[in-house]
C-alpha cells in the first residue's frame, strides 16, 4: 500500500526570508487585537459580567419567539436583553444584565432572576426551562480576576520552564508567541462580539498548550541542529529546523482539526464557542511558532555555543592534570 505523504520529502521553504514583513504583520495583529479589546470591548457572558442567563426550549413550536421574548423582558424593566437562538431553532438563550444597584445586592439579584423566569414561564405554556445561570456582580468580578491570573500565571510558568530546559532566548521567544496567540484570540472575540465566558478561558489555555507543543517541537529541533551544524548561519538553521519538522506540524494540526470539526458541527451547542476558539488557536498557534518564536531567536542572538556545556574550572584543572592541554 502506498502511504500518504502530506508534505513532500526534503522541503526547503525559506520561511525566515519573510521574517521582517511577517513579524510586522504579527505586531500589527497584536496591536489591532488589543485595540479591538479596548474599543469594542469583550462581550462578557454572565460568568464575567454578572446577571442571568436563561436557556429554554419551546416544546410546541418549530421556532422560538425571539422578538416577543425580548419585549417581555424589556417590559419587566431590564434594558437590552440578549435573546439568541441556541442549538435548535426552538431553543433560545436569554441573557439579562442587571442594573448595577440590583447586581450588587444579592437578594435583589435573586428576586430579579426569579421574576424573569416566572414571567416567561407564565407567558408561554410550552416554555421548558433547560437551565439558568445567575451570577452576582461580586462573584463575576472574582471570576474575571481569577481568569486573568490563570492566563498570566500559565504563560509565565511555561516560559520559565522553557528557559530552564533551553536558554533564556527560547523562553522569551515562547512567551512572545503565547502572547501573540492569546492576543489574537481575545481580538477575535472582541471583533465578532462572541460571548466571552469561563469556557473561553479554558479554550485559550488549551491554545496556549497547543501552541507551546508546536513551539517546543521546533525549538527541540533547533537545539539539536545547533549542536550538529556549528557553523551554519542562524536564519538558515531555523529554516532547516522548521522544514524538518514541517511534516509533523501539518500532520498534528490536521489530526487535531479532524477531532475538532465533528465537535464543531455535531457537538452540543453549548460547546461551540469553546471549540471555535480552539480551532482558531490551532492556526494561530502554528503560525506563531514559526513567525514569532523563531525570528526572535535570530534577533536575540542565539548561538551554537548556547548548548555546548561550559568548561568549569574543575574540568579545566582535570584536563591539565591529565596533560591534555
Amino acid at each position: 500500500m502506498k502511504l500518504l505523504k502530506l508534505v513532500p520529502d526534503d522541503t526547503n521553504i525559506k520561511f525566515l526570508k519573510w521574517r521582517f514583513p511577517f513579524f510586522i504583520v504579527s505586531i500589527l495583529l497584536i496591536a489591532g487585537s488589543w485595540a479591538m479589546v479596548f474599543t469594542k470591548g469583550l462581550n462578557y457572558g454572565v460568568d464575567f459580567a454578572g446577571g442571568l442567563e436563561v436557556r429554554a426550549t419551546f416544546t410546541e413550536r418549530a421556532e422560538a419567539p425571539v422578538a416577543e421574548l425580548r419585549e417581555d423582558v424589556e417590559n419587566l424593566g431590564y434594558q437590552s436583553p440578549v435573546v439568541q437562538r441556541f442549538g435548535e431553532d426552538n431553543q433560545v438563550s436569554i441573557r439579562v444584565r442587571l442594573p448595577d444597584e440590583v447586581a450588587a445586592d444579592n437578594e435583589a439579584a435573586q428576586a430579579a432572576a426569579n421574576e424573569v423566569v416566572a414571567e416567561l414561564q407564565g407567558n408561554y405554556p410550552d416554555f421548558r426551562l433547560d437551565g439558568n445561570d445567575n451570577v452576582s456582580g461580586k462573584v463575576s468580578g472574582e471570576f474575571r480576576e481569577d481568569a486573568i491570573f490563570a492566563l498570566v500565571a500559565a504563560m509565565l510558568a511555561v516560559a520559565l520552564y522553557i528557559w530552564i530546559r533551553f536558554e533564556w532566548q527560547f523562553g522569551v521567544g515562547a512567551l512572545f508567541a503565547l502572547f501573540h496567540d492569546v492576543s489574537l484570540a481575545l481580538g477575535m472575540f472582541a471583533l465578532f462580539q462572541m460571548e466571552f465566558s469561563l469556557q473561553i478561558i479554558a479554550a485559550i489555555l488549551a491554545i496556549i498548550g497547543y501552541s507551546l507543543n508546536d513551539t517546543i517541537v521546533v525549538y527541540d529541533r533547533i537545539r539539536e541542529n545547533l549542536k550538529k551544524y556549528r557553523k551554519m548561519p542562524l536564519p538558515e538553521l531555523l529554516d532547516l529546523s522548521v522544514n524538518e519538522t514541517l511534516a509533523r506540524t501539518v500532520m498534528t494540526s490536521l489530526t487535531l482539526l479532524l477531532a475538532l470539526l465533528p465537535l464543531l458541527f455535531v457537538g452540543p451547542a453549548s460547546l461551540f464557542g469553546l471549540t471555535a476558539a480552539i480551532t482558531l488557536g490551532l492556526f494561530v498557534g502554528t503560525y506563531s511558532s514559526v513567525y514569532m518564536a523563531a525570528p526572535l531567536l535570530v534577533w536575540m542572538g542565539v548561538t551554537s555555543d548556547s548548548f555546548v556545556p561550559e568548561e568549569t574550572v574543575a574540568d579545566r584543572q582535570e584536563k591539565v592534570a591529565r596533560g591534555e592541554v
Binding site: L3, F149, L212
Partner: protein, 530 residues
C-alpha cells in the same frame, strides 16, 4: 530496543488492561445498561451540566457575624455587670463602628470592671478575641481583634455547613455535595434537582424561631420606628392580613434551639397545613410555665424577626408540644419544618451564584458529545492509518486504549466529567497521536538518512522523546494552573487534560514501542513501509 523483558511486557499490558477495565462500569452507566451488582462500581461522575441539577454558591457576610457577635457581647457585658457583687453600674452603652463602648458610673471601679470583662471577653481559647481600652479613666472601649473575628466567622461557617447539610438531607435528594469554599462561602450541588427554587427557599432563611409574650398590638408608626420603651416591636410577616405588628417583651421567651422535632402536619380543626413541634424537656418546662402563667394572653411566634402568628394561650400546655400555623402551603410548612429541625443558621447566607441545568439538556449534550468524539476518533484513526500504515495501526490501537484508560482512571479517581470535559476529551484525542506523529516522522527521517530499520526505529523513539517530554510537561503545568485557578466547568476541562496527558504518553510511547519491537523481532524486515 528489540529486547522487552517479560516482566516489562506484563507490566505494560497490566496497566493498560486494568485501566480499560476500570472504564467498564462508566460505559455501562452512560449507555443506561445494568451493571452486575456484585461487581465493584467505580463510575465516572457526571457534572451538573451533563447530569442536570443545581449548583448554588452561598455566601455569608463577615459584617453580619461581627454585628451578631457585638450584640452578644453587649448582652454578656450587661449581665456580667449586673451580676457582679456589688453591682457595677454602667451607662451610655453604644455599639457604633463595630466597637462596644460604655461609661462607668463610678470611676473607682475601673479595676473590678476590667476583671469582670476579662472573663467574658477572651473565653478560654488561646486567641485574644477583643482588645480593651479605657479612655479618660471611665469610658471602656472593646474592639474586636482580627483573629477573634476570623475565629467567629470560621465557627459560624462550620455551623452553617452542618445546618445546610441537615436541611438538604431533609429534601431527600441523591448525593448532594456540600463544600466549604474559601472563608465565607459554601457550595451546594444537587444532581438531578428539578426545582432550584425550593432549594434556595430552604437555604435562604436563617430560621431563627422565638416565642415571646405579646404586650399589645403595635401601631404603624411604632413598627416604622422599630422600638418602644421596655419592649420590642416585631412586624407581621407579609400576607398575614395584619397591617402592623406587635410589641413583645424584650427579655424572656423561648427560642428554636429548644426544639427536638418539627413536622409538617394538618390542623385537625381547620385542616390547614401547620408545623407540629416538640420541645426538649427544658424548653417544654419553660413553655408549660409560660402557658400556665399567662393563660388568656397572646404569644408571638417569631421567625427571622417577623411574627408568623400570635395565638392566644387557651390553656396550659404541659406535654411540650405545640403547633405553628399561619397560612402555609403544604410545601412551605414542610420547608419550615426542615428548617426548624436543622436549627437556625448561625449566619445569614445569600445566594451569589446559581446554575441549573435541566436533565433533558444534559442528556442531549452527552449524546451529541459522544457522537462527536466517536466521529473525531474515527477520522483521526483513518488519517493515521493512511499516513503511517502499520505504524498508524499501532497508533490507533493505542488511541483506543487511551480513550478507555482515560475514562477508567477518571472513574477510579472519582473525577467528574463535565461538558467542557468532553471538549478536553476531543482535544486529548487530537493531541494523543502527536507523540506517534513525532516518532513516526522521525523514523522516516532516519530511514531517509540511510539508517537500517532497527536503528531508525530506535533513534526515532529516542530522539522524539525529548520533545514529547518537554511538550507534555509544559502542558501539565498549564493544566495544573487551570485546575487550581479555574472555577467550576474549567476545572472539568483541566482534569481531563491532565489525566489525558498521562494516559496518552503511556499509550503512545511505551505501548506502541512494545508492539513495534515485537513485530521487528518476529519478522526482521529489511525495509519498512513508512
Amino acid at each position: 530496543m528489540l529486547e522487552f523483558p517479560t516482566w516489562r511486557k506484563a507490566f505494560l499490558w497490566g496497566v493498560a488492561i486494568v485501566g480499560m477495565l476500570l472504564s467498564l462500569p462508566s460505559l455501562f452507566s452512560l449507555a443506561n445498561l445494568d451493571w452486575p451488582e456484585q461487581l465493584p462500581e467505580p463510575t465516572i461522575n457526571l457534572g451538573l451540566d451533563l447530569a442536570g441539577g443545581s449548583h448554588i454558591l452561598l455566601e455569608a457576610d463577615r459584617a453580619d457575624v461581627a454585628a451578631t457577635r457585638l450584640e452578644d457581647l453587649e448582652e454578656s457585658v450587661r449581665n456580667a455587670m449586673r451580676r457582679a457583687e456589688p453591682r457595677i453600674r454602667i451607662g451610655d452603652v453604644s455599639t457604633a463602628d463595630g466597637q462596644l463602648s460604655f461609661l462607668l458610673d463610678d470611676v473607682t471601679e475601673v479595676d473590678r470592671a476590667r476583671a469582670e470583662l476579662e472573663t467574658i471577653m477572651n473565653g478560654t481559647g488561646p486567641v485574644r478575641e477583643w482588645d480593651l481600652q479605657v479612655v479618660d479613666g471611665q469610658r471602656f472601649v472593646l474592639t474586636p481583634t482580627q483573629a477573634g473575628l476570623d475565629n467567629a466567622v470560621d465557627a459560624a461557617m462550620e455551623g452553617a455547613l452542618r445546618t445546610v447539610g441537615i436541611r438538604i438531607d431533609g429534601l431527600g435528594t441523591r448525593e448532594p455535595t456540600i463544600l466549604r469554599q474559601g472563608d465565607t462561602r459554601i457550595v451546594v450541588q444537587v444532581p438531578g434537582l428539578q426545582d432550584p427554587e425550593q432549594l434556595k427557599e430552604l437555604l435562604g432563611k436563617t430560621a431563627k424561631l422565638e416565642f415571646k409574650l405579646v404586650e399589645r398590638q403595635a401601631s404603624a408608626e411604632e413598627v416604622q420606628r422599630g422600638f418602644v420603651a421596655g419592649g420590642e416591636v416585631v412586624p407581621y410577616a407579609e400576607g398575614e392580613g395584619f397591617p402592623n405588628g406587635v410589641v413583645v417583651q424584650r427579655i424572656g421567651g423561648i427560642d428554636g434551639e429548644t426544639l427536638t422535632s418539627a413536622q409538617q402536619s394538618f390542623d385537625p380543626r381547620t385542616n390547614e397545613p401547620v408545623v407540629s413541634i416538640t420541645f426538649n424537656p427544658d424548653g417544654g418546662r419553660r413553655f408549660a410555665r409560660m402557658t400556665t402563667q399567662y393563660t388568656g394572653r397572646q404569644f408571638a411566634i417569631i421567625l427571622d424577626g417577623e411574627v408568623i402568628s400570635a395565638p392566644r394561650m387557651q390553656e396550659p400546655i404541659q406535654n411540650g408540644q405545640s403547633q405553628i400555623s399561619g397560612s402555609f402551603t403544604v410545601e412551605s410548612a414542610n420547608n419550615l419544618a426542615i428548617q426548624l429541625r436543622s436549627g437556625a443558621l448561625p449566619v445569614d447566607l445569600s445566594v451569589v451564584e446559581e446554575r441549573t441545568v435541566g436533565p433533558d439538556l444534559g442528556a442531549d449534550s452527552i449524546k451529541q458529545g459522544m457522537f462527536a468524539i466517536l466521529i473525531g476518533t474515527l477520522l483521526v484513526m483513518g488519517l493515521m492509518i493512511v499516513t503511517y500504515g502499520r505504524f498508524g495501526i499501532y497508533a490507533t490501537v493505542a488511541l483506543v486504549i487511551n480513550v478507555f484508560m482515560l475514562l477508567g482512571i477518571m472513574a477510579a479517581l472519582n473525577m467528574t466529567l463535565t461538558l467542557p470535559g468532553l471538549a478536553g476529551f476531543v482535544l486529548t484525542i487530537g493531541a494523543a497521536v502527536d507523540a506517534n506523529v513525532l516518532i513516526n516522522e522521525r523514523i522516516r527521517e532516519e530511514r531517509k538518512r540511510g539508517r537500517r530499520v532497527v536503528a531508525a526505529v530506535e533513534n526515532g523513539y529516542k530522539e522524539a522523546s525529548r520533545a514529547i517530554y518537554d511538550a507534555n510537561v509544559t502542558n501539565f503545568i498549564a493544566g495544573v494552573l487551570l485546575f487550581n485557578f479555574g472555577s467550576g466547568p474549567i476545572k472539568g476541562f483541566a482534569v481531563v487534560l491532565v489525566v489525558g496527558l498521562f494516559t496518552s504518553v503511556f499509550t503512545a510511547v511505551p505501548l506502541t514501542r512494545m508492539w513495534v519491537a515485537g513485530w521487528l523481532r518476529k519478522t526482521r524486515p529489511t525495509d519498512i513501509n513508512l
